[in-house]
């Protein structure tokens, strides 16, 4: 072989000889070499190498691939028992290391199990439909005057849903679901609120929901038919035999034409009843909006495609269809697309979903966090195992001398790590069951979305996952063990393991600690923002205010009853609740410029509202009490409205008495209130706010309570409610609680972040502990000699811990600025009214992490530094 001349890539050669059948190998290698030499002359080294690699990959064909050698497999199989035995002995011998590894892997795997269980749940959604792979949802994007919504809506227009079958080829059937059927149902003796949709007659053809009674073909065919689920039939009639019964809804009688099984947990559509869509044609006879092309807001259309239809190719005909229908509306373009049924739970987060979904963003973040955690634990294993190479090198050397192949050494060590990870699986299963309920209760919607029940499939995935983790964690140590030089190992001439791979190990520790510091700092920052937002000064008082949702009841009766309670101080009414993300807008004309008008946000309240919530009046007066149903004449505005329309040149005193036109009505401004948060503290929408007056048709009663025993007061109110409205459950919440609920998302991030950072810190700490124990023990002889020579304990402590402390400092130097920049420059500027970052939360987390680490380094190094040198040196 011509030496020093350019040669083909080593790894490609090795790969070829690995997969190729021995009888073909030599010839193939020769051919490739010949071509390589040719290309070398014609095209240069790099090109030649590239072609070589390409050719090696191209030759990877069925006829060239080596058949697995049965004998080798047999030997490995026979040796399995021996591997397991040595692995067990090693586990028992190094209790500390095994413990650290099992604990670390177990902790991180429990989160992995959670992720797998979640994915399995999400992917099992809607699989019970026989035609699930042929069902697609029609989704639409709204574009008006060139302003387009970037996102698709899960809904589409009723018009599109009903006419798509004729206009687009390949659609076999369409199931339509329209919102708005939910409401109170009356049976002979009961009146209950029940949730449901309008559905068309194809519903049971497209979906495989099980109809227990009734004919699926005709159950939703005629107007005023209703299909009940078993549980709602039971609620209404006390029996599931409800076929043919009559129920009343909004002054109309509906016939029960079917009783179906409750929708399964893993159905993304959930309901308690279905009303025939045909009824709407009768009820809304003269409503022109119903069938309008741009009314895309409340109908979900599910298409069952033909068996041979290709959804990807249907986009063109959908575009054609919408181009044709666009002509029926002005300046509006509706883009249609198809979304596979399987994509609904795990795909992109569309607006107007029919039920809660998790969305791909949350899913991806969760998967990313889990992978970081798992990587961290795998690094621990790798780190510790490689560091222990010294202890095992003799064993490997002897095995090799006796005749073990490299592959067998690799096999042995991988089996060892798989055993460890299977043990960790047992530990993590326990953790999994412990954290599962906490995880599910973190967000209200999660409980309805996920079950996380153990099933055979799940167990299979768990075991496969554990084996995978074992192999992933064990492969680097296994390969490095298999490379040990036999002679050097047996003759005890191994270079100190501290030298080999030291930079990799350092990098891994820095990685782990950077992640830990980032995790805990980020959690602290989010926690501080959360606290800041739920205690945000909204500009009015929310203390001890209980908001009761009236659910269609008149306000007066309830108010009179509640006023009898001693604990109730004041009561007011309102259309919506400010500060928790409710919005209602109305158009207001600019009094100075007839051409200008803008949306202002409003709340309709009675005369008690402003006083009860302690809104600060800057000028003018409160509303004057008026009789019910009197004409609206007065309005109270906030400062932003005056600024926006430049009313009376923004002189607050002169604003009172001015006329403005709101929603087509001319109203006089009677008062000006100080600005306050109308929407949500972290949302800029809704700066210009007006209060309008109405003392009927309120949605909420705001009750100010003064009580020592709030739960008892609450119970009293609930009893009063029960008397007045037995049908609906009492729905009342304290204002502060509602504000807190509005930031559930942040709260959940704090919880998840806190939990994960705890885990990451735990894992990196025990990993560090292992490393410290190991390296200090290696240096025990050196320490003893130093001690004999007169070194002080403090000096030794510094010597032993210096390198670790340096690593931790590097991690902090990487992590803190990274976190700071991310929050300061990227995340926080996007959140209005957020709190600027401060020093404490930036350094507190790192400080805590470093303290824990120092404690561990200190305790271990101190132990070594304190050993009696005579004990150690005597052994020689």
């Amino acid at each position: 072989m011509a030496n020093r001349s350019p040669y083909p890539p080593k790894w490609a050669e090795r790969f070829l000889s690995w997969y190729c059948r021995p009888e073909l190998l030599e010839d193939l290698q020769g051919d490739l070499n010949e071509y390589f030499d040719r290309n070398l002359k014609k095209k240069g080294v790099r090109k030649a190498r590239f072609i070589y690699v390409l050719d090696v990959l191209k030759f990877f064909r069925p006829y060239t691939i080596r058949k697995p050698e049965i004998l080798n497999l047999l030997i490995n199989f026979l040796m399995l028992g021996s591997y397991i035995k040595t692995s067990r002995r090693n586990l028992v011998r190094n209790k500390l290391f095994s413990g650290i590894n099992i604990f670390g892997l177990g902790v991180s795997m429990s989160v992995g199990l959670l992720m797998i269980a979640m994915l399995v749940d999400l992917y099992s959604y809607d699989r019970f439909h026989v035609n699930h792979d042929r069902i697609y949802r029609l989704i639409s994007r709204f574009e008006q005057n060139g302003h387009s919504n970037s996102n698709f809506f899960a809904t589409s227009s009723l018009k599109a849903g009903t006419s798509i079958k004729e206009s687009v080829n390949g659609v076999q059937d369409v199931a339509l679901l329209k919102d708005g059927f939910s409401g109170d149902l009356e049976s002979a003796d009961k009146k209950l609120p029940i949730k449901g949709y309008w559905a068309n007659e194809s519903f049971f053809d497209v979906f495989s929901f099980e109809l227990v009674q009734g004919n699926p073909a005709t159950a939703l065919l005629e107007p005023f038919q209703v299909v009940l689920t078993e549980s709602s039939a039971l609620k209404l009639f006390g029996t599931t035999q409800a076929l043919g019964m009559e129920v009343g809804r909004e002054d109309r009688a509906y016939v029960v034409t079917g009783v179906m099984k409750d929708p399964p947990v893993f159905s993304h559509i959930k309901f308690e009843m279905l009303g025939s869509l045909r009824s709407l044609e009768v009820i809304n006879q003269d409503n022109p909006d119903l069938m309008k092309w741009d009314n895309i807001w409340d109908t979900w259309s599910y298409l069952l495609l033909d068996k041979d239809a290709d959804a990807a190719k249907m986009k063109a005909s959908l575009d054609q269809f919408s181009a044709q229908e666009d002509k029926t509306v002005q300046n509006t373009h509706i883009e249609l697309d198809l979304q596979p049924l399987s994509d609904i739970m795990v795909g992109e987060n569309l607006a107007n979903q029919i039920g809660p979904t998790l969305g791909s963003t949350v899913l991806r973040i969760f998967i990313a966090l889990t992978i970081v955690l798992l990587l961290s634990a795998c690094f621990n294993y790798t780190n510790l195992s490689v560091a222990r190479a010294m202890g095992r090198s003799k064993e490997v050397g002897i095995r090799k001398t006796i005749g073990a192949f490299k592959s067998q050494i690799v096999g042995q060590f991988i089996i060892e790590s798989v055993i460890i990870s299977l043990l960790a699986l047992g530990f993590s299963l326990v953790l999994f069951f412990l954290i599962r309920p906490h995880f599910l209760s973190m967000e209200a919607s999660l409980q309805h979305l996920l079950r996380l029940d153990l099933s055979p499939v799940l167990v299979f995935f768990f075991v496969a996952f554990a084996v995978f983790i074992g192999i992933a964690a064990g492969v680097i140590p296994a390969v490095s063990f298999s490379r040990i030089n036999t002679i050097a190992a047996v003759k005890n001439m191994m270079s100190s393991p501290g030298v080999k791979g030291i930079s990799m190990r350092k990098a891994l520790i820095v990685f782990q600690y950077s992640i830990s510091i980032i995790a805990i700092t980020a959690t602290l920052i989010i926690f501080k923002q959360y606290k800041h937002f739920i205690h945000y000064d909204l500009g009015f008082s929310t203390e001890n205010v209980l908001n009761i949702r009236l659910q269609g009841n008149g306000a007066d009766l309830l108010r009179n009853e509640l006023n009898k309670l001693a604990e109730v101080q004041e009561i007011s009414q309102s259309m919506l609740i400010s500060g928790i993300g409710h919005y209602s807008g109305v158009s207001m004309k600019n009094p100075n410029d007839p051409l200008d008008s803008a949306t202002v946000y409003y709340n309709t309240v009675d005369e008690n509202y402003l006083a009860l919530h302690q809104h600060r009046l800057l000028a003018g007066t409160n509303f004057n009490p008026k009789p019910v149903d009197s004409v609206e004449t007065e309005v109270i505005v906030n400062q932003e409205v005056i600024k926006r329309f430049n009313i009376a040149d923004q002189r607050v005193q002169d604003v009172v008495g001015q006329m403005v036109s709101l929603d087509g009505k001319d109203l006089v401004i009677v008062g000006v209130v100080e600005n306050f948060e109308y929407g949500k503290a972290n949302n800029q929408t809704g700066k210009e706010v007006v209060f309008r007056y109405a003392n009927n048709n309120a949605n909420y009663l705001n009750v100010k309570v003064q009580s020592q025993d709030l739960p008892a007061t609450y119970a009293k109110m609930e009893a009063i409610w029960k008397q007045l409205d037995p049908a609906h459950p009492f729905d009342a919440k304290f204002y502060n609680q509602q504000i807190q609920d509005g930031f559930k998302g942040l709260e959940a991030s704090v919880k998840i972040g806190g939990f994960l950072s705890l885990l990451v810190i735990c894992i990196s700490s025990i990993g560090l502990l292992g490393m410290v124990v190991y390296t200090t023990e290696l240096r025990i002889k050196e320490v003893s000699i130093r001690k004999v020579m007169g070194s002080s304990e403090v000096g030794l402590l510094a010597l032993l811990s210096r390198s670790f402390v340096n690593l931790l400092t590097v991690s902090a130097v990487i992590a803190i600025p990274a976190t700071y920049l991310f929050f300061d420059k990227i995340l926080l500027p996007q959140i209005p009214n957020s709190l600027p970052l401060e020093l404490p939360e930036m350094v507190l987390g790192s400080f805590a992490v470093l303290m824990v680490a120092l404690l561990m380094i200190g305790s271990q190094t101190l132990k070594v530094a304190r050993t009696n040198p005579a004990d150690v040196l005597n052994r020689e």
Binding site: M1, E26, D27, L32, R61, Y63
Partner: protein
Amino acid sequence: MKGTNLGEFEELVLLTVAVLMDEAYSVAICDELEKTTGRVAKLGVVHAVLNRLEEKGLTKSQLGEATNVRGGKRKRFYQVTNAGREALIKSKEIRDELWGRISDLSLSGI
């Protein structure tokens, strides 16, 4: 599809093996094919065809002597077997037969 039936490219490769006589190994076959047909013959394709021909029993092969080119690897030389020769002759006969039945007239009419 195994049997004596020859694909078009298989036939070309088999013929080239016959033409090259004692020098018929993969790279040489590739080069020869490129020269005579004018189309690019990929090593991977030729190799697969040679392997298939050998499986069908139309060629046989043995390794040659080691030389210091090719990174010291031996070449695999191919020879046409009797079965291979028969297959070639048969395919030629079929073609000749068909050619013979085409009158000059009808050919020029194409």
